[in-house]
Amino acid sequence: MKHRTFFWFILPTFLAMFFFITLPIISVVVQSFHTPHENILITVENCDPFGCKKVTSIDHEATKELKNEKPLGKFVGLDIYFDRGHLALEQVKQHWNNSENLLSFLSLISDLPFYKAIFFTLTFTFTVTPIMLFLGLLIALGVNAINRKLKGLIIFFSLLPMIVTPLIGSIILFWMIDSRGIVGNFLQITFEDPNLSLKASTSLTWVTLIVYGVWHAIPFSFIVFYAGLQTLPKDQIESAQIDGANTFQQTIHIIIPHIMPLITFVTLMQLMDNFRVFEPIIGFNAEAHATSLSWIIFNDLGGETRQLSAAATSSILTIIGIIILLLPVLIKTWREFDFKK
């Protein structure tokens, strides 16, 4: 393609990305370096149906001038990044000095909100991604092998978990795994433990969330791999069959190398998606047992508190996290890319 054509071709996308992705991210970065001004507090008398009382309130007149002068707030540099709600440098240092080995150190810092969220997020990402890759490939191979007449129907049903909105899907499952729900009750009978509850224990909640994550993500890898399987080199497979390779050997030596670029693609997408895990935590009411960076952002923005700077900082940390996570895959793709083509 000529450079000129390419430029006009890419311009609309580029503009959209600049206005709707780059600019907002810049504003989030700026926000994360600022906090609201210090509030000037005064004591006033408030009256409500239950009587009058002297209470503390914000002096808006006095704070207004400061706000007009510097509408962005107070510049605090990296303070928010290092406070207890985020990287918690001070607390981490303290825990490091107080702990004898790495394990006790990890258990101490897992009490801090950011690290607690990171531990769950990473566990979720690194269990869901490989499992869904493997199962997705298995289903794709299976569907590819069955009778053509059945294929449409099976594909439709295999895609269902992805069609259901994540939040709705997790709420439905939340009620099914209730101790009085169909799955919860079944588990109680199977394990002969009437007090078994998936929602009451942290480890079982993690397992539930991971199972849900896999269930929801399989259709994506399945459909991508299935599309890849339609382009298999028939002559290579035929010659392998003549050489006496069994199905397993064919899969390992021909099919997987053939769809390797797709596997990389799905891995990239899923690492990003799973790192942002959010809806299942809300749907399963799992905040007590598992939190993620996205959940922290949501929690900071909601309710009465509206901690914009804290949410902005968590957003930037999420972006940094995703970049670190994707770096190995990106470097690999870069190296394999043939520039001469």
């Binding site: 906090t35 509030n39 408030n46 239950f50 209470v55 929602k199 009411n285």
Partner: protein, 408 residues
């Protein structure tokens, strides 16, 4: 059939009656607020006004949208329905206007104690009061010869007896969902033990105290008689458990008590067995382990004076005394409106007021404390850490966010 006819006629009568006194407005009105029966009544009342468009966005997520929706110029919402917890965010951001002029002009029917004044200026008009109090199954307590609990210690003893009798496996209910609900239960218990959240009039936290430890321990003991999934149960789920007959005693919102057993499929046993009483005290204290709330409406600052006037007229119309002629509306809440006579469902909240229950503090930093408690307390409830550690975690989490918001 007869009942249905009466209902239809009373609604028709109500409609005819209200349209006779229809209000007219000349500018747009847009309301945002929480979603429960009494607030839906207020929203519908505002919509009766003719002459301009009235819209109402009533949702449980109202706190996530009201600040943003009132910050633009002109504001999307001309009125926010709030409680003494949620008005703070609007005050902190200076988003609502003083109503003194409008009250003089259009607010003749309002009672003095409905007017919420802050530093002498009327900032909101309250229409109902709310508090958490005891809801219980009188049939079960009677069968086991248990007196209605007046303290949390008695509640624990009752729970022990009920479980031992085998009637209900997990007899205690409570909105203990991690987050806002759990923190609210802690606030109740903490106040009941005589604790105060802040040092004097400052924003310095004060929860890491004897009262805090006792409050946590009491909550832990109660949770042992709850459904093991209690950390996922908000007030809706807790009420569902009560309706299903799985809960015999619980601390529940007054605003939910009237319609608690009205749902389809509730057994006669639960329907006839449900009763309410005032809030409980704890640890020999006199102040109930509960907090008083009011719900009211505000008018946005960043709108034209015409819109503010229209909003005031429509909202005043929604809470005019004549709405109480409808029996269904009368029992939806403990109304603060002129001429309200308490229904049976209001006994709990009235008892709470009479016992001098502490109102939820209208402090600029109370929300930050509430959210810090909600985030940190779940670890203790699961037995992962000690009460002292949890309380110092709460103070640390609060300090970090209060520093960020410029209060410390």
């Amino acid at each position: 059939m007869k009942l249905l006819l009466i209902k239809v006629f009373s609604i028709l009568f109500f409609l005819a009656y209200s349209s006779a006194f229809a209000c007219s407005i000349s500018a747009r009105v847009s309301i945002v607020g929480n979603e429960f029966p009494a607030i839906q009544t207020v929203g519908a009342g505002a919509k009766e006004c003719k002459g301009a468009k009235v819209t109402a966005n009533l949702t449980a997520d109202h706190q996530k949208i009201n600040v943003a929706g009132m910050s633009s110029k002109p504001a999307e919402y001309t009125s926010a329905i709030v409680a003494n917890t949620s008005i703070v965010a609007l005050l902190n951001n200076d988003l609502i206007r003083p109503l003194d002029d409008l009250v003089n002009k259009h607010g003749k029917g309002l009672k003095k104690n409905q007017l919420i004044t802050i530093d002498g200026k009327i900032m909101a008009v309250a229409f109902m009061a709310n508090a958490q109090h005891l809801v219980y199954r009188k049939d079960i307590l009677k069968k086991l010869n248990i007196d209605v609990p007046k303290t949390y210690e008695e509640m624990l003893a009752a729970a022990k007896k009920i479980r031992a009798s085998g009637l209900v496996k997990n007899p205690v209910g409570g909105a203990y969902k991690a987050g806002w609900n759990l923190a609210q239960e802690f606030n109740n218990m903490f106040i009941g033990y005589g604790g105060s959240h802040f040092k004097g009039n400052s924003a310095e936290p004060n929860v890491n105290s004897d009262a805090g430890v006792k409050a946590l321990k009491m909550m832990k003991s109660l949770s042992e008689y709850m459904n093991p999934d209690f950390l996922t149960h908000d007030s809706n789920a807790t009420n569902a458990e009560f309706r299903a007959g799985n809960v015999a005693i619980m601390n529940m919102w007054g605003s939910r008590a009237a319609t608690l057993v009205d749902a389809d499929g509730v057994s006669m046993e639960v329907k006839n067995g449900m009763d309410i009483a005032g809030p409980m005290t704890v640890g020999g204290g006199k102040t109930p382990a509960s907090t008083l709330f009011w719900d009211g409406w505000t008018v946005a600052k960043k709108i034209s004076d015409e819109e503010a006037e229209a909003t005031f007229i429509a909202m005043t119309n929604a809470i005019r005394p004549s709405i109480l002629d409808n029996e269904d509306i009368r029992k939806q809440a403990v109304w603060l409106i002129e001429g309200y006579k308490p229904t049976d469902a209001a006994r709990g909240v009235f008892a709470a007021a009479k016992m001098n229950t502490t109102p939820y503090p209208m402090l600029p930093y109370a929300g930050l404390m509430h959210s810090a408690i909600g985030k940190e307390i779940a670890d203790f409830m699961q037995g992962k850490e000690t009460a002292d550690k949890t309380l110092s975690d709460i103070e640390d989490a609060y300090r970090a966010s209060a520093k960020e918001k410029g209060f410390l």
